[in-house]
Amino acid sequence: MNVALPLGWAVLLPVLLLAVAWAAVAADVVVAGRAAGRPVPWTTAAALPGREALRLLVGQRRRAVAGDELLRGVGGAVLPIAALLAAAVLPLGLRPVADLGVGIVWFNAMEVFAWAAVWLVGWGANSTMSLIGGYRFVAQGLGWELPHMFALITAAIGAQSLRVSDVVAAQQGLWFVVIMPVAFVAFLLSVAAMAFWGPFGAPVGRDLAGGAAAELGGVDRLVVLTGRWLLLVAAAAMAVPLFLGGGHGPWLPAWAWVLVKTLAVLAALVGLRHRIPTIRMERWTEFSLVVLTPATIAQALVVTLVVLGEGGV
């Protein structure tokens, strides 16, 4: 059955995502301040995302000498667009903007555009640091993609559907995180990795002077940085329908539960971020392929057996 929201929500979706991203940035600033021993007042932190955006809007753009402006521009623009398209299948409450029959695959396909986007931004600037940043993201992507796919598939197996609203419906009684904890952890890791954020921030790392974003100024920088936060928010929000019961919960309406749970996932990510150092590519890829991938496959197998045991299919 198709339970998509009215079309007007498509306009509202970017606003919602940006608002949550705003809150996440502000929270990140507060936590960073506390970790550094220089607390930032809430009021300052709350205004900070707007202030930074304004700074970049006022700022001048830069052009690359012998670089590929076209590819760089395309790459930058793809990042926020991919995040928004991925978020289209997110149930806001119990109903998503686009209730695709293959919503989980769609979500995955849209996220993967970040690979192309970051690499293009890194390539287009014609700078060594940027290019290394772009390559780092591809290496990291090869590491997270397989565990990420298996985590998504595990949730789909549990619900026996690729439709995200069906996955939510299947969790009316029991949240999937209970029967598939490994998939949940792998998913959270890949959320941070796909948004090249926090411990997976090496592609835009400080050692590379900003990496893929090193040469971006003005609006270009704003678009890429916003796209990155939107990706993080969209992916973190996806953990709610897949593993945390979506809009199901007592007392509150469904949309409120989705919001609360999304903010909780983001809070956990932001809180953990400042306790964890940046993970290097060569360590992560091997761990991901040798440990995480088999673990998520085993998780998928266990869930399959559970579903078969309950007389599913």
Partner: protein, 360 residues
């Protein structure tokens, strides 16, 4: 017009600061960093990210050429301030905010020929090549296009990569790039000319810009903490890095009791030693040992000893040739950590030939 002024003022309230200084400006740099952190301003990661370029000390001709190159890459609105004395720091930073918000001044600053250009890396290629190949006997400001043997010149004045064997036995492109002196978490005034293949360093030759004969030396404890903060920041541990910097500032400029400093140092050391993730990230080849982590711990320990007043031995400063040797064959992220840990000092005793050809 009023709206534009108001927007400019709002945007200028929290500028990103890029600090550039030559050899021997560490104390002044620490003072600027302290003031910038106190105001809650971020330190820029690259020229593209900067609003205010703070030049500290009195840069020599080579560094001055680098600063000019960096300045062309800073997007407007922008401000450049020169600080030579610790007393000027606060007022100079105030002035820079004024300048950023000043529409007329920004108009005068803005490059007339379109947008500012991006050069390869954070280091403009012309100057990079000039310096790397001709340091010592070239007058600054005279920028010809010199390229490495075997490189072809391409449109845009960039050198084409040449080929070389990589560590898997594939002949792949090599790039000649200078690292520094304008990089985040990088020792003042240091430049390492590297031959880079992918993100693996094939050859390295490090030197200091504008060889300064007499270098003002920081107290050992402050120097060790500075280096430790760099390592922590490069490992992505911004919080502990900022704490290490705060301790350094207290040591240099006062404002804390010894007991508190010791407590905080112990706390920091405990966190570093306990983090298994940090160990996992930093470990190098060889039975789970981590040279970087051990060096980091040593630095914190020696800082503690110096603060406590125990006669600690001064940390052994790495000289440039041994730094070069350690960088060869290392992956980029590891190389950054090695440089941060090594924290090299110029060795006046060792007369190093500075007028050889390029790194190749």
């Amino acid at each position: 017009m009023d709206l534009r002024r108001a927007l400019l003022r709002a945007a200028a309230a929290r500028p990103h600061v890029l600090i550039i200084g030559g050899l021997g400006t560490d104390r002044l740099r620490a003072r600027v960093e302290q003031e910038v952190a106190r105001r809650g301003w971020p330190v820029a990661s690259a020229p593209a990210d900067a609003d205010v370029v703070v030049v500290i000390g009195r840069p020599g001709p080579e560094l001055r050429a680098v600063i000019d190159g960096v300045w062309t890459g800073v997007p407007a609105p922008r401000s450049q301030i020169w600080i030579t004395d610790e007393d000027e720091v606060s007022s100079a930073l105030d002035d820079s905010v004024q300048e950023l918000a000043d529409l007329a001044a920004q108009r005068a600053h803005a490059p007339r020929s379109g947008l500012p250009a991006i050069h390869t890396g954070v280091f403009p290629p012309e100057q990079g090549h000039d310096i790397s190949e001709q340091s010592g006997h070239d007058e600054p400001g005279e920028h010809g296009h010199h390229h490495h043997d075997g490189g072809m010149e391409l449109p845009g004045g960039l050198a084409m990569a040449d080929l070389g064997e990589d560590r898997d036995g594939l002949a792949l492109d090599q790039l000649h790039v200078p690292l520094g002196p304008v990089l985040p978490e990088w020792p003042s005034g240091l430049v390492v000319d590297i031959v880079l293949q992918g993100d693996v360093i094939q050859e390295a030759r490090s030197r200091f810009l504008d060889d300064v004969a007499a270098v003002e030396r920081q107290p050992d404890a402050a120097r060790a903490l500075d280096s430790a903060a760099r390592v922590l920041a490069l490992s992505g541990w911004e919080g502990p890095a900022a704490r290490a910097r705060g301790l350094r500032d207290v040591l240099l400029f006062g404002g804390g009791e010894t007991v508190r400093i010791l407590e905080e140092l112990d706390d920091l050391r405990r966190r570093v030693r306990r983090s298994r993730l940090l160990r996992w990230v930093l470990r190098s080849a060889g039975a789970g040992r981590s040279e970087v982590l051990e060096a980091l711990d040593d630095k914190l320990l020696s800082a503690r000893a110096a603060v406590a007043g125990a006669g600690a031995e001064a940390p052994v400063a790495t000289d440039l040739p041994s730094l070069d040797a350690r960088l060869v064959g290392v992956e980029f992220a590891a190389a950054r950590l090695i440089v941060a840990v090594a924290d090299p000092l110029p060795q006046p005793a060792l007369a190093r030939p500075t007028d050889q050809g390029g790194a190749s």
